[in-house]
């Protein structure tokens, strides 16, 4: 064997394999493998624990409910458990390889038959032992009682109540993680990236809670199988659909309604799920004389089917389609939306090796149409991804779990295209499709070094290639003027960037109820969202890395302390992080970012840094549950050409951020909830002087983001009343009041001249949403 022929990736792979194999020894061993699922719905349970009783040896089920555990031959009692389920003990004679597909009963279900074994006190100490830091897991069922704006429960808005995650503004579904920008979050729905995760100018997220099984947020320390964004990965998985019986459930709310239908196609083998949602603000508009010509609504649809071909093979098809429509009579209309589709094949190669192959499509587009008597034209823009992913999970032994694979994405971006009728006087314009290829190879291993020390380490090698499209490729001078123009043949390589992204995360359990963790991760981002408005806009544009725009890179180090109290019913965690960022993007003064072929000439590049401390105290069990989160942080940028090249606060820089969430179950059927949020205002640019030009007053600016918006705070309350719960039917009412004490939080601050004395300048604060009540009726036919 010629060692020099081995590429670095292979070497690393070999090394990982060797380390992983190190702890195995030559006693005869057998494997217990299978899936863990919900006893009534048949849905696989993610992250269920399988442990050897009274030992600290075990595994978690993967995202498809699969587990595999290899142990020396013996008669062993295993404990199967999962959050929200009654645990079960199973004794197995492990003298050969055993397959066990086990069902767990939901803890809230009425027990109608005697359980084989019921264990009452189960340790839920995953927060202590999981080596991955900065991770938040949300169960849609658990958030149902938290009050929300207009009664539409929303997984992203609940995520915003966690430390390190900040809302992009009043009622906004955009969010910032650890000082990163809104476009630095990778939002995945069944592995498909969702490019614009908001409806109605950001007041709703695109995720219909009815269709969601699980949501996990990694705040920068994502394992190596994820990549492509700097700040975070929000991994959302859709329900599979009940494979035992049909269910129809839904909700009727003040401004929207939901309907969810699921059931078996072939019992225990195949099931489907269709979940839809539509708002009907426009129906109210129709009732008014003033607004009856206007359109304003969104809808979305989630659908999924899965088929278990046999014990070893299973296929899934899932999709999302959502659209927003706004219109003023026939004169003006804009609509936008995402479409995603995922086809997956799970294959159990053997009892230790699990394979998943995914083909993923994702698109986002918007269309603006304007028409009057003489003039009619429309503007279109879109991004389309085709994505192929092959991943293996190798359950090597009880101490090592390997995950490795490859991923390739083809991005096609149409930055803007104008079509117009001949008499409009507007020349049609087609900016050519930007094509690029993002590819990655990754390997990661979860290694339990000892009972106390676990480490997850991995490596991702990602590359990005800008492809030629037969049209001009520009390079720019420091002033943003075109320096050089070149033409590359279709699909030829214009520029390739390779980046090695190491990730490591570890946990040391220094007592039964406390652990310390440390992590380092490098992340790369190759596509960038150009948004030069104060709020998110559906017309914001994605651009690929190019000759001028380099990939964004971040390095994040974090350490944390985790402690559980009172039989694990309280969790306390303190995490601190420092993140440095390269090739960050900001805009030249008064940049033109719309339908501009030379858009990169409007951009400025520099570096960023973000650091902070996140404290979280959570109560997980009992009549009263909830959490208190606090974040102290900074996020700054240093960009050539802005504020004399000095460090300045990023827009999302907020010093303090507090959220308090409480839910109290008065009776099993009646619960009340409340939340309170407080945060420092965003950094903002205000004028420092004024002058007269063209007969009007103009403002004089000195520095970008040199001022602060006023502090934001608000309290919401809610009541959930479970009215009926029979074997066939369930119904509940949900009442909530947003902004209980009617605080006028600043949405924008503008300056204008006093009407009576134009020499006086006034600061005018606009605020939204005072005392928004809502009521939702939820039902379920079982």
């Amino acid at each position: 064997m010629v060692v020099t022929d081995i590429c670095p990736m292979k070497k690393i792979l070999l090394a990982v394999m060797l380390i992983a194999a190190f702890s195995s020894f030559s006693q005869e061993k057998f494997t217990l493998s299978g899936t863990v699922s919900d006893s009534t719905k048949g849905e696989e349970i993610i992250n269920a624990t399988i442990k050897v009783k009274s030992q600290n040896v075990g595994v978690f089920t993967n995202e498809y409910g699969f587990y595999s555990l290899t142990l020396p031959a013996d008669t062993i009692t295993f404990v199967f458990s999962a959050l929200g389920y009654n645990p079960r003990e199973v004794t197995i004679e492990l003298t050969k390889n055993v397959q066990l597909n086990l069902k767990l009963r939901n803890a809230n279900e009425k027990i109608t038959e005697i359980e084989e074994v019921v264990i009452s006190a189960i340790k839920q100490d995953q927060q202590l032992t999981d080596p991955i830091m900065g991770v938040e897991r949300l169960d849609p069922a658990a958030i149902a009682k938290i009050p929300v704006l207009l009664g539409e429960k929303d997984i992203i808005k609940t995520m915003q109540l966690l430390p390190g995650v900040k809302s992009a503004g009043e009622g906004n579904a955009g969010f910032y993680v650890r000082g990163g920008a809104a476009d630095q979050n990778l939002i995945l729905l069944d592995e498909a990236p969702v490019y614009n995760a908001s409806h109605l100018l950001g007041f709703f997220s695109t995720f219909n809670s009815d269709a969601i099984k699980d949501a996990v947020l990694y705040k920068g320390n994502q394992p190596a199988n994820f990549g492509g964004r700097l700040s975070s990965v929000m991994d959302i998985k859709m329900n599979e659909g009940n494979n035992k019986r049909y269910n129809v459930s839904g909700g009727i709310g003040v401004i929207s309604s939901r309907l969810n239908v699921e059931g078996p196609i072939v019992k225990d083998k195949a099931s489907f799920l269709i979940s839809g949602r539509r708002t009907y603000v426009d129906l109210f508009l129709k009732a008014t004389e003033q607004f009856k010509e206007n359109k304003l609504y969104f809808y979305d649809l989630n659908a999924k089917v899965n088929y278990r071909i046999n014990q070893k093979n299973r296929v899934f098809l899932s999709g999302y389609f959502g659209r927003d429509k706004l219109g003023l009579g026939n004169a003006f209309g804009i609509n936008w939306g995402n479409a995603t589709g995922t086809a997956r094949w799970n294959h159990i190669v053997n009892d230790k090796l699990f394979s998943n192959t995914s083909v993923i499509y994702s698109s986002y587009d918007y269309l603006i149409a304007i028409s009057s008597e003489d003039v009619s034209f429309d503007i279109k823009s879109s991004i389309k991804d085709i994505n192929i992913k092959q991943e293996f999970q190798y359950f090597l032994n009880t101490r090592n779990k390997l995950r490795f694979g490859i991923n390739a994405i083809h991005h096609g971006i149409i930055p803007g295209q104008i079509s117009a009728n001949a008499s409009s006087g507007i020349n049609p314009l087609k900016l050519t499709t930007n094509k690029s290829l993002e590819a990655a190879i990754f390997i990661t291993n979860d290694w339990s070094v000892s009972e106390k020390f676990t480490i997850s380490y991995g490596l991702r090698l990602s590359t990005f290639t800008l492809l030629g499209n037969g049209k001009n490729v520009y390079s720019y001078t420091a002033d943003g003027d075109v320096l050089d123009t070149m033409v590359y043949k279709n699909n030829s390589f214009v520029k390739t960037y390779p980046i090695l992204e190491p990730r490591v995360s570890m946990s040391y359990l220094y007592s039964k109820s406390a652990s310390v963790k440390a992590a380092y991760a490098r992340n790369a981002q190759y596509i960038h969202l150009i948004s030069n408005t104060t709020t998110t806009s559906p017309t914001d544009l994605w651009i690929p890395s190019s000759l001028n725009t380099k990939p964004e890179i971040s390095d994040q180090v974090s350490v944390g302390w985790f402690k559980n109290f009172k039989e694990n019913s309280y969790e306390l965690s303190v995490e601190t992080y420092y993140k440095s960022m390269q090739n960050q993007i900001d805009y030249r003064n008064s940049a033109n970012t719309q339908a501009n072929e030379l858009i990169e000439g409007e951009l400025l590049y520099g570096i960023g840094r973000a650091y902070g401390v996140e404290v979280m105290l959570k109560k997980k069990t009992g009549k009263f549950t909830g959490w208190l989160g606090y974040t102290l942080s900074r996020s700054e940028r240093k960009i050539e050409g802005i504020n004399s090249n000095n460090w300045y606060a990023a827009k999302q820089d907020r010093t303090h951020d507090v959220s308090l969430v409480g839910i109290y179950d008065i009776t099993p059927k009646l619960s009340i909830s409340a939340l309170f949020v407080f945060y420092t205002g965003n950094a903002v640019t205000f004028p420092t002087g004024k002058y007269e030009v063209g007969g009007t007053t103009q403002y004089l600016y000195t520095e970008r983001n040199g001022y602060r918006m006023p502090a934001y705070h608000r309290m919401d309350i809610g009541v959930t009343w479970l009215r009926k719960n029979t074997a066939k039917f369930e119904s509940s009412w949900n009442f909530s009041l947003y902004n209980v004490y009617g605080r006028q939080n600043a949405y924008t601050i503008n300056f204008r001249q006093n009407e009576d004395n134009p020499n006086i300048t006034e600061a005018v604060q606009t605020s939204l949403f005072r005392w928004i009540p809502s009521v939702t009726y939820n039902f379920k036919f079982k």
Partner: protein, 257 residues
């Protein structure tokens, strides 16, 4: 098109949600005053005017202070130079100074030994063919749109700025257009103006301006809604605010039906 969207978003937020406005106190730092120079050379006219003022702190409640001791010289590329005279506080004028297409004009302003210089080239004249109007229904209300129709010159970048007067009173707002998507076409993009009613006499003054002045006003327009407001780039050297505009002019009037 972003402005369309912003307008629409604003309309939504203002009209449909329970938004409310209030005047608040904002603590703003003081800022050293800067000179503000605004100068015009207009094709077809022989009197040209420059105004010079100073900027103030945001908290100031007085009119902008004027500069009355400047030495202002207008010259062209043929060497015709004339010193302007102070005709009113902060206002300097020159009379009997004819201008021509294709010629480059320079303005030099000397204020207590500080010198500011700008120049611009007179574009080819583009006259307004007609001025039309139509009612554009925008939500519940209808807005009167003005359509200044003219033939754009093909092959060169043209920039237009409009001043709109209703019954002799100027309507505030920056109205600019360029020919990026209409080069060489019959230009008829509408201008939406608030407060123009049926029966009003509306006068539109169209100016053919150069790229630098267009960018200046584009920045001011962007400042009204963008997240990165900034001072526009002046075409004066020497570090002052304001601009020097060498421009063509065409005027039409219409009575709103």
């Amino acid at each position: 098109m972003n402005s369309f969207f912003k307008l629409f978003a604003l309309f939504l937020i203002v009209e449909m949600l329970t938004s409310c406005e209030k005047i608040i106190e904002v603590n703003i730092n003081d800022k050293d005053p800067q000179f503000v120079i605004e100068g015009f050379v207009t094709l077809g006219e022989t009197t040209h005017r420059v105004s010079i003022t100073k900027s103030q702190n945001l908290s100031a409640a007085t009119v902008a202070p004027t500069i009355d001791n400047a030495v202002v010289v207008l010259s062209d590329d043929l060497g015709n130079a004339q010193t302007m005279t102070l005709v009113a506080p902060g206002i300097y004028e020159v009379n009997s100074y004819p201008v021509a297409e294709g010629r480059t004009y320079s303005l030099s302003v000397n204020i207590a030994a500080e010198v500011f210089v700008a120049s611009g080239t007179m574009m080819q004249d583009i006259p307004l063919d007609t001025l039309q109007t139509f009612a554009f229904s925008f939500g519940p209300a209808s807005i009167n749109a003005l359509v200044p129709v003219r033939q754009d010159l093909a092959g060169i970048k043209n920039f237009y700025k409009f001043s709109i007067f209703s019954n002799q009173l100027e309507i505030e707002g920056i109205n600019i257009q360029d020919d990026e998507y209409n080069d060489g076409n019959l230009m008829q993009q509408p201008i939406f103006v608030d407060g123009v009613e049926s029966g009003d006499t509306v006068r539109v003054e169209m100016y053919g301006i150069d790229n630098a002045v267009y960018d200046y006003f584009y920045t001011l327009q962007q400042n009204e809604a963008g997240a990165t407001p900034a001072n526009p780039t002046s075409n004066f050297s020497g570090g002052c605010l304001g601009y020097f505009s060498v421009r063509t002019k065409s005027v039409k009037e219409i009575i709103i039906p």
